[in-house]
Assembly symmetry: C2
Homo-oligomer: 247 residues x 2
C-alpha cells in the first residue's frame, strides 16, 4: 500500500461494511493481516475505521460468507490461507502452463459456442471484414475447482471450421489450434481494464456482488503475424493477479 492507513467514505454509494470488507481483503493481500493469524478484535477494527462495531461485523460476515475469514466465538476471527494465483501474460500466454505449479488441477471448460457475424471490434482484431462469419467460444478456466477466468474467443469461421468440436474434445485452445496446423502462436496485443463484476460475472465466476474483475482484450497471431484469435477474458481480482512477464 502507499502512504497512510486509508479511511472510508460515507455517502459514496458503497456501503461502509463493503468498503471495510474490501480494505480487510486488501490488508490481507498486502500482508498487514497475516494468514492463519487472528484479526484485531472487532472493537479495535471499529476504532481503526471510525465506525460502529456492528458495521465491522457486517463486513466480517460478508468475508466469512466468501470463505476468506473464519470467526470463532470467544477466540477471535482468523484469516484463512487462500493465496491469489499469479497468471502470467507474455508472448506465449497459455492457460494451463501459466498456472502450473500454483494449482495441481486446472482445466478449461467449453461453455458454449456459436457462429456469428463479426462486430467491428472483432473484425478489426482479426483483420476481417465487419460481418464476416466468426466462431465464438465461451470458456471458463478453473484451478483446483475454483473459477479463475471467463473468456470469449473469436476465430475466423472459414479457416477454423470445427474448432468448437476440437475445443470440446481437447479442452485446450493450444491443442485445438494445433489441429489446424498452428504449432505456435504469439500474443500480439493485450489491453487491460477493470470494473465491477456484472450479473453474468457473478454467476460465471462464482463471485459475490461488489467484486472486481480484471478484463483483458487480446489478439493472438501466428509467428509470421497473421491474427488467428481475438479474445476478451475476465479474471476475478480477488483470486487472480496478472503477472506481465518479459517477452
Amino acid at each position: 500500500m502507499i502512504g497512510q492507513p486509508s479511511s472510508i467514505e460515507r455517502r459514496s454509494g458503497v456501503a461502509l461494511w463493503r468498503q471495510i470488507a474490501d480494505q480487510i481483503l486488501h490488508s490481507i493481500a498486502v500482508g498487514d493481516f497475516p494468514e492463519n493469524a487472528a484479526l484485531p478484535p472487532e472493537i479495535a477494527l471499529a476504532g481503526r475505521y471510525g465506525v460502529n462495531r456492528h458495521t465491522v461485523r457486517s463486513a466480517i460476515a460478508a468475508l466469512v460468507q466468501e470463505g476468506v475469514l473464519r470467526a470463532e466465538q470467544g477466540r477471535g476471527t482468523f484469516v484463512l490461507s487462500r493465496k491469489r494465483l499469479s497468471y502470467p501474460i507474455g508472448a506465449r500466454t497459455r492457460f494451463s502452463e501459466g498456472l502450473q505449479g500454483q494449482a495441481s488441477e486446472r482445466h478449461i471448460t467449453l461453455l458454449a459456442s456459436s457462429v456469428e457475424p463479426a462486430n467491428r471490434r472483432v473484425a478489426e482484431g482479426l483483420g476481417l471484414a465487419t460481418g464476416a462469419d466468426v466462431i465464438r467460444l465461451e470458456t471458463r478456466g478453473e484451478a483446483d475447482g475454483m473459477p479463475v477466468s471467463r473468456a470469449a474467443g473469436w476465430f475466423d469461421a472459414r479457416r477454423f471450421a470445427g474448432i468448437d468440436a476440437a475445443m470440446a474434445e481437447t479442452g485446450s485452445i493450444t491443442a485445438s489450434l494445433a489441429r489446424f496446423g498452428i504449432d505456435d502462436y504469439l500474443r500480439q496485443s493485450t489491453v487491460l481494464s477493470a470494473r465491477h463484476a456484472d450479473a453474468a460475472d457473478l454467476a460465471d465466476l462464482d463471485l459475490q456482488p461488489g467484486a472486481i474483475v480484471l478484463v483483458t482484450v487480446a489478439v493472438n497471431v501466428t509467428p509470421d503475424g497473421q491474427p488467428i484469435q481475438f479474445s476478451e477474458s475476465r479474471f476475478p481480482a480477488e483470486r487472480i493477479e496478472l503477472k506481465l512477464s518479459a517477452l
Copy 2:
C-alpha cells in the same frame, strides 16, 4: 462486453445508483452510448435496469458531477467526449513517451520524498537487505491537467543519493536516472491488480468514491539486470487503460 445486457444486484453493499453509474460508464467505454450523443431518456434507462426513474437520476447526477455527462432540461442527457488514455507497458515503459500523441501536455509532479528502511517487499524487489535505506519518491502523473497516475518509487539510497532533488528539478524519472549514469533501463516485472479507490486515491487522483484503480507493482533494471527501481503505481480505471505492448 460478453453476452447479455448485464443487470444489477440488490443488497450487495453497492447502491443501485452507483452500479448503474458504473454500467453507464462501461456502456460509454464500449461504445453502446456514443460520445456527444444523447443517452436514452431516464424512463427508458429505468426500464432497462429495472429500477425507478429517480434511481437512474441519482446515477446520472453522479456522472454529471464527475464530468462524464451533461444534462439539459427538455433536451436530454449527453455523453461528453473524454476518451480513456491508453498507457503502454512494455520493456521500455516511460510516462511521457507513453502518452505522446494522446495528450498535448503531460508531466510528473514530485509530491514528496523521504528516506526510509526498505520493507521486505521493496528489499526483495531491489535485491537489498530488509531495512536497508531506500529513497521513496511519491509522484503524480498528469495529462492535459487531469491526474492519470499516482506512484511511489523506491531507490537504493546509497547508489541514488540525491535523486529526489534531481526528480524535483527535471520532473522525469528517466532524466534523473541519467544523472547517475543510467542511460537505459528495462521493465523486468509487472504485477497487476485492481481494487476500489481508497481515501488517498480519491484525493490524489481527484476521483469520486466508488471509483476503481488499477495497481501495478513493477521492478526496473539496467540492461545487464541490476534492479534500480521498485515501484507501485495506481491508475484511475475510468481514465486509463493499460496497453501491454510487445517487448
